[in-house]
Subunit: 208 residues, 2 copies
DNA sequence: TGTTGTGAATCTCTTCACAGCT
DNA sequence: AGCTGTGAAGAGATTCACAACA
């Protein structure tokens, strides 16, 4: 149905729509949304086609309706639970950002192998010991895992998560994870992104 | 010349090549590299075409030669300097990961508006006050900026960085940055990635 | 045999362009 | 006039497939 890329952009649109809503804007044109989302008007319209929601030539799209429609695609009606593994600086940053932001997608448990970090509550999220990982995933019906452990520990964590029934992983560790083909993995590779930026920063200077 | 995507993959290949080198492997076939990089053999060969380096049907590619060739594309001979702005959990995570990892791409200064965090050295990187941002960028000839400040502060930081001559930005803040068209921006949008993972985690379960 | 290097084919994503609407 | 919705065209990236080679 909707491609990987479209799903990503719908998420981005949603953030923009929330801020438009907060600023009291009731309607939005595709070209406005495009400007705010680094895209073209045609692309926005294409993406919005996957939602049921239709726009009007006179007022554009209704902001509330779009938010509703995006939620219908992106959010699970019954909600989805997420576990974060690795409470280092990165893990804490992700926790701090996410807690309470999406009612339908909440980080319900964090794990670390360091007992110092465990048995506390960080950003409203209980921190649990690593050896209870599989058990907790099953008990709390957690479907998504965020891996913020060092590279050397990532595969083992992924194995435990997958075995416990997680169907999607957001992986910050700079290694390829081997998981069953039914599990969706998205990598966030900061080194790659930074090297890309450095490369194109140079190109611009050299080229046109 | 080389596309955005190819440059990204070259960076990924490099990491894999380093680990192959560390494990004493002298040669590698395209299909091996593909397996380690989530790609196809044909794709790897295409990507490697942009390097001068050529492989042999009998032994595949020479690992040392590939590393050398990738460096010739990705690294600036004279090196590039990076500044990180925003020493929160996320900023510290990025600092900790990067320090000393790439001789040709080093974070030479970090900035924060909180005086508590300033005048210290984190992970071998001097932390400076925000009001010296522009001045330091110019003095140290910094070409790349990493933005790890909250969303509300990101645009202002970007403005200062661009004005001081930075040509590339790696942006973690969930906002669109407005910069001159000569500046390359790469966004890392964790919310988007997580929502994508959650979406496809559900699809797999529902679909095939 | 099994690999590389690459033209050609294919697939996917994006943009164009315009009918239909208000 | 200026927008949406969308078929069709275009651009870009990936994969195929095979000649050349060791």
């Amino acid at each position: 149905m909707a491609s990987d890329k479209t799903i990503g952009r719908l998420s981005r649109y949603r953030r923009i729509l929330y801020s438009l809503q907060a600023s009291g804007k009731a309607n939005v044109y595709s070209h406005e949304l495009a400007r705010l989302a680094r895209g073209t008007a045609a692309q926005v319209r294409r993406d919005l086609m996957v939602l049921g929601c239709t726009g009007s030539p006179t007022h554009g799209y209704d902001v509330d309706c779009l938010i509703e429609s995006v939620a219908q695609v992106l959010d699970a009606p019954e909600g989805q639970r997420v576990a974060l593994v690795g409470i280092g600086n990165l893990g804490r940053a992700v926790l701090a950002y996410f807690v309470g932001r999406r009612p339908k997608l909440s980080i319900v448990a964090a794990f670390d192998k360091d007992p110092q970090k465990v048995e506390r509550v960080t950003h409203g999220c209980p921190c649990l010991p690593m050896d209870s990982l599989g058990k907790t995933i099953r008990e709390k019906c957690i479907e998504v895992g965020i891996i913020t452990v060092p590279a050397g520990a990532a595969q083992e964590v992924a194995d435990t998560l997958c075995e416990a029934g997680v169907m999607g992983l957001l992986n910050f560790a700079p290694v390829r994870l081997w998981v069953p083909s039914t599990v969706y993995v998205e990598d966030i590779d900061v080194t790659m992104s930074l090297e890309k930026v450095a490369f194109f920063a140079r190109q611009v200077k050299a080229g046109a």
